[in-house]
Amino acid sequence: MTLLAALSPNSDFVTACYIVAFSLFIFGIRQGTHPRTARRGNLIAAAGMAVAIAITLSTDVIGHGVLILIGILIGTAVGVVASLRVQMTDMPQMVALYNGVGGGAAALISWSEFRHVSAGGSSIPLDIFVPILFSTVIGSVSFWGSNIAFGKLQAIIPSRPVQFPGQHIFNGLLLAAILAGCIVLGIDHDSPSQGLYIAVLIGAAVLGNLFVLPIGGADMPVVISLLNAFTGLAAAAAGFALDNVVLIVAGTLVGSSGTILTLEMSRAMNRSISNLLFSGFGAVSASAGEREERPVHSIGPEDAAIKLGYADSVVFVPGYGMAVAQAQHAVKELANELEKRGVHVSYAIHPVAGRMPGHMNVLLAEADVPYEQLKEMDEINPEMPQMDVAVVIGANDVTNPAAKDDPNSPIAGMPIIEVDQAKEVIVIKRSLSPGFAGIDNDLFYEDKTSMLFADAKGAASDIAAKVEEL
């Protein structure tokens, strides 16, 4: 180790290597704009990471080589096993966990750096101390918040909003106390109290738990994106504390990405970030329980097969219900049968169709649906009036025309897939039960809508079999 450890971490050569590393990150992400180049882009970013790690390992601050090796071996083993075994339906959980360990790593590094700089007895410069405190708080909040998000997605803890009276006031006071603690530590930067630092660390941990607990399962896409942004900022702050340029740039890139995704998700739900975070959406649904009985047009797989088999164009509108039923392969089979008959097939994907940004696209890609057939909402809506049949599978609120027509609806203004514009609509659903927003869907009662009450997977297979017989 000592033979290799020759370079100063602040030498020009090391910094140059870090510049190469973050350039490769940016270039790698840039390649991610198209699936044809994205895989190579991922490898390019990985190469950047290898450069950054290799050069850091050859600096003269490296010590305790055995401990480093242990950490890397544990991390590699967990990472390899997790990434090979995870089901695509479970990707949101996996990303939540990655957010968590990333935030946790940033908080732990800050803790260690705090102990190190405060041990000497000399004053800690504020341009080091403030980033340390920031990274500690944000990292700790992300770690614990992500664990709760993971638990909710994995159904270990109830995905319903968990609330207690005065929760927002309590969270607000807790946040104020954490900030006050940080300010006191900052003022005392000559000899900051170790105990107060630990208290801030623990306070942030409690806040992380309490801030995600009241958020419902269907709002998880926003929470995961937000925590992603947090971990990025925590890493960037750690970079400020350690004077490390590649940490600053890489952390900021992740922070930008998480911020963009958070904004996009909240726009797709037509809800402000504060509304998402501070009001459990599930709480609204209870009041909207009263529904009138209205007649619907119910059909079986044969009728559906005839409608689809003789159509020119069919668009599938999948929702999370399809993923829960693991129906994506059955839907792809049905699409294959239709394509054999010359039917033009596409898929309309709402931004919040899954449990994380882009989740539904991954599930369909896993079922071998060609990338070109996956249409984003803004792309498919203008084409909707030309579609012969729209098939809604396991989606509800994202197709509800009330979002456009009824200004008093709880989902008013939310962008939807405009299936009501298609010539005919088939909705595959187990019952008429309302969606997550807890409101009735007028789409189900329209004249051109046929309801097929069945499990998504079974229904898709049945229709595929009937289409084959046509």
Partner: protein, 121 residues
């Protein structure tokens, strides 16, 4: 590096990040997220640096956990992203699209061509 230099880098990186990432299509947002998870694993460098000056057991334990966490992000993140992007590449698709729809398209000509490959040449 002075604080102001670092802030300059931070601000420029934020603008670059917004520019580049807003060009990634919605379809690829899940792989983007797992890839940024992997890039976030860069915090592991912080673990490598701080563990060098660790002198009590607590700091050693903190360092090992931080390095392990960062490595999980890097290894797991890049690998699972690669797995997902391989699916978007659609390697299995090519033989299907060659055999099935092409015979359909030949049929309307009335020519019972069983060798679409030859007619193409």
């Amino acid at each position: 590096m002075s604080l102001m230099t670092e802030i300059t880098i931070f601000v420029l990186a934020a603008f670059v990040g917004f520019e580049v990432i807003s060009k990634v299509p919605t379809t690829l947002h899940t792989p983007l997220m797992s890839q940024t998870n992997a890039i976030h694993g860069i915090v592991m460098l912080g673990g490598l640096i701080v563990i060098g000056s660790a002198d009590d057991t607590l700091e050693k334990v903190i360092g090992v956990i931080a390095i392990a966490f960062g490595t999980i992000n890097i290894v797991g993140g890049f690998m699972v992203t690669d797995r997902m992007l391989a699916m978007f590449g659609g390697r299995k698709r090519k033989p299907k699209t060659e055999s099935e729809p092409s015979t359909n398209r030949v049929a309307p000509d009335g020519a019972p061509s069983d060798q679409p490959g030859e007619s193409g040449q």
